[in-house]
Symmetry: D3
Subunit: 248 residues, 6 copies
């Protein structure tokens, strides 16, 4: 059930049975030699839509741009500064809270966004905690990384041991290949990217990871494994989402 494809009256009807919404959040950033710039947004959106279907839940518009300052030395990468993302998530959530939504389940596709999204939740909660009158509508937010679900990690461990890495991974590239078979890129690359110390800004990341991969070998990606990864992620996220909704 995609918010974008509902009328307002249908959305109002939905709110009578549920006040929860799924929010796909990705990023627009380089993903190595054969990864799509939209990888994180594509994966998060596709998986969220499937979770919404299976859980019979509303899915909001995808947040396609994330916190990706560290990738700005590679063409096509776009970032929201953390303060911008905090304002953006705040408006997104407070708008829907006007209508009665109060549980926001973010399905995230980008590790670089985790901390800032956590900060955004706390900015929202701080408004509530500093409100001594209790008139502000209170919301509850949660974030889950699809690539860290149990099922996904099991498949990755089996298929890509030691070659998964942490960015431009074969897993995420596989998922995009499954979703966009027409956009599979054939690019030669060294087997596994370097994985030295933690990067800081974009120049630093590029000097450490010249082709954009971080400890990964995305040449291993295939649409077939991508399909299984989606199923595994959805299989884990649906009950987790339901538990979030059901929690007192």
């Amino acid at each position: 059930m995609l918010l974008h494809l509902q009328t307002w009256a249908e959305c109002e009807a939905y709110l009578k049975r549920s006040t929860a919404i799924i929010v796909p959040i990705g990023s627009t950033e380089q993903h190595g030699p054969n990864g799509l710039i939209g990888t994180d947004a594509i994966c998060a959106e596709y998986i969220s839509h499937r979770v919404g279907e299976q859980a019979d839940a509303m899915v909001g518009p995808t947040i396609g741009i994330g916190m990706a300052q560290h990738h700005l030395a590679f063409a096509g990468s776009i970032t929201m500064r953390p303060t911008t993302m905090i304002a953006y998530v705040r408006d997104y959530v407070r708008s829907l809270a006007v209508h009665g939504f109060d549980r926001f389940y973010f399905i995230n596709g980008h590790g670089g966004t985790v901390a800032t999204l956590g900060a955004a939740f706390n900015e929202l909660y701080a408004e509530q905690s500093l409100d001594t009158t209790g008139i502000l509508r209170r919301v509850r937010c949660e974030q889950r990384n699809w690539y860290e679900t149990t099922g996904v990690k099991a498949i990755s461990a089996k298929e890509y041991t030691g070659r998964e890495g942490s960015h431009a991974t074969p897993s995420e590239v596989a998922v995009t290949q499954f979703i966009h078979p027409d956009a599979i890129k054939r690019v030669g690359m060294e087997p596994v990217g370097p994985r030295p110390r933690r990067y800081t800004d974009s120049r630093d990341l590029r000097s450490l990871h010249p082709d954009g991969r971080i400890g990964s070998d995305p040449s291993l990606a295939t649409p077939e494994v991508g399909k299984r990864l989606v199923a595994a992620a959805v299989g884990d996220l649906v009950p987790d989402f339901k538990a979030f909704v059901a929690a007192a």
Copy 2:
């Protein structure tokens, strides 16, 4: 050519022949009895993708949430406050400017965003105008409303005279019906919505326009006209975009 479906190396290659990018910008807000909440984003994105194809130009990620405070009294509507949108557009543009993009052509689907997007451009330009050293990379931005192109207005005048209105119009609903034939909604409604004075905030808009339409009769919408509207918009925007790129 969608940025989301490129690798960073492909984007880098593109920059050698063009520094221009098309940015679809819509909104997520109620669109009357039979209009989709995602109408403005859906139309802007679809038309932008077609313009990108025909002009052989890069298309960036869709900005799916706009300035829609006036619709917040209807379920499902989401707004960015103007200051948030200014920060968001600023980060979007400045990120791509790092890579060398310097011409940004926004194809807009929502009248309510026009002023704020104009303000966002001026915030970007103000950075440049206040920079006395000239070290900041200068960008040029433009916005065009697809629904105000000559071709679209001609079709609308012929098909929907006196029933087009200014929100939840038969034109935009027709375009979404063409794009999403599975999401056509059959809803009874009065022929033409009321069109009194200009609304202000969301409560005001709802009191003036109880079902969300503004002077429009979207029951007239058909996918067939939607298809023609898309073609007309694209036909007008492609040469306009090219002129923008070619301008000294």
Copy 3:
């Protein structure tokens, strides 16, 4: 009735019969070879004061600095960045809302400010639309450009056809000559300034319009026409203001 020349008790008395206020808003920016830097503020203030007199309405302090980043390549120009103007207008309006003012009629003298002022209104309205409790006092704002009133356009069309342009126009220069006859400047200039594509930032504007005019021939300005323009603008704005106040 100028707010500046009232005591607080007189203002309180006014509020018993009206909650509307007129706000002159101009700009401080270059106006070509013979135009005053204060042109937009001078015109907006003078016309607003006359409207206030004829409509027996309160007139607030003039906002003399506008969004003028595009003129910063010419000495003496001052801009508020859009985000600054949004904060400034917000504080101006919310302060007066404390006292009970709830209708704000901005008489504007500068095209460059229109979008940002519109964004500022939406920032105010967004506060109201995101307020679910309804405790925030709701305001209604409107803006009118004096130079686009019917009467002014008729005179301009007659006196300056093809030479009015869009900046440093003979109309606005004429109005300032009427108001400040001692500050009429005699400067030689080419008959009509260039009018190529739309400018972006200040360096761009200056490269397109080397003497600051945009498609205009302000050498035609005379105080006599200025006097008639003021009368025409006031004649159109007074009933428009009254309609704004009377609207349900």
Copy 4:
């Protein structure tokens, strides 16, 4: 020499002989039973214009709204929040710095603005101090309260001993009576207003000072003394301004 009445070319010519500018800064706030809401702006503007004449210096547009949150319980008072004023002063100064102005001499008419204006200067200086490359144009700012000049204090001490108070003073009311003889208000009042502890917010101020005066007896004000006060202030400020300009 008023910036508002110059052309950009005249301003450019001025900059060849001086990079200093005088900035009048006042406030729009209640001034007791017989004081005008615009008192602080009126006084600061008038005195600044006279200083500009005698010192042959440029005078910028008046900042007519100040930090006046404490007066908001009286009708007609308008405040900029401190953060808004900091942004506003920052834009004002940085705009003129583009043209080459680098010495800003603020003539202030409102005690409530002093701290915030000082903070605004430090925000500007912090930009410069955090700029390690030295590319940002450096400016120097100063503020002077006209009502605290030696000459003004001498007259006040002689004319109003024990009745000057600190707000809605006979001195400032006298100055406005001299400037606006048509707006002299005849209002009965108790001889001297109360002067208890320092106020905080607007409700607090009103509870301590029910008619808006603070320790003052503005019924003593006459235009004749107002004229002398202006002369005294200007007499002190002109050499002080010149010393500011001349300082290495």
Copy 5:
């Protein structure tokens, strides 16, 4: 009674008998040849703790970083920009207001922070003054500079006449020597630092005051006088704090 050393239940108990809190506020900035970078924080904290003991009052965490942009040309100096300090003080105060604290007595050790702290108070008050419903908890703030208390000035006048200066003073150095006898620095210096015109940014300050002192001779400092200064400051601040608490 230090907040840091209480449990929440103890703090809750305190609130039953008092809603006042003392807040030490200092700075981290160069203090001349023999002064510690932490001088202002050290003095404010130590004196505040003593005042808290004698007044049986709660003392909050020390704000150790102040507005010190002007010292940034000397190693080790740290500043909060004014806007940052305003946000910081706002959060500090609003957090404690949640629990019921409503009187905040800042004991300040740094002249450069005075204006910005005043602006921060007004930002807090502006929230209250713009709140028309009265639901926001109202607070009252005060600041006192320990070095300007009567007792301190008397000792300084006696011990350091003409050599006290306004920064890196013998008084404040003496107090730190008393508090940190192990960190007394022996550094040769000229008798009294220069004291020309007022500085602006950090490069300006350093050019005027090459070793960081401003008109002072801190070589005179001794722990013995430091001890007396502390006693004097505390002696003056305790009754002043009590009066602040007792005020209606």
Copy 6:
């Protein structure tokens, strides 16, 4: 080597041999029945000072207030909103970068701050990544939680298995008992606090954890174990800090 106890010249000398600095960061928030409100700041500061001694490194002023919105329902808790903390950390780091510091090693005592501090680092890095000219001084930041070092976890596992919890833990309480033996609180409490789902805002946390503990039994804390925990944390952090400094 505490920055607070150095002169600027000593700091300058230090910078000749090292550009790294340790920054203690804690929080001021309730810590259950027997924990001090300052627990997180006290632990982070004390451990940082010891690490500084053993690593012969500079230690900056403690950031004593963290992101603690979730504790605001308990008296004495203070929070910085995430956006405030981002501004604060930004100013702290950029100030020291002026002097040449470029490696910032934060020793953190509060889990609730981790995400926001990560966001703050990315705000700093985003400035660098968006700076196309490379003129901004680049910094590198790292954060370590002392309570998650290997040595600390080993002791906790041995001493407090199943009773450590995640807030108001026996480990952190033990450390404060070692540091402040005079402030050990004797308070009766149930053996282990509840540990249900993740909390959101402060009301939510208090409803889940009525006495402020989260899954912990801090009645087990003793100063003796506290002493060993400090030694273990320092033992792990010193080489980690050195590796951070030595990294290319």
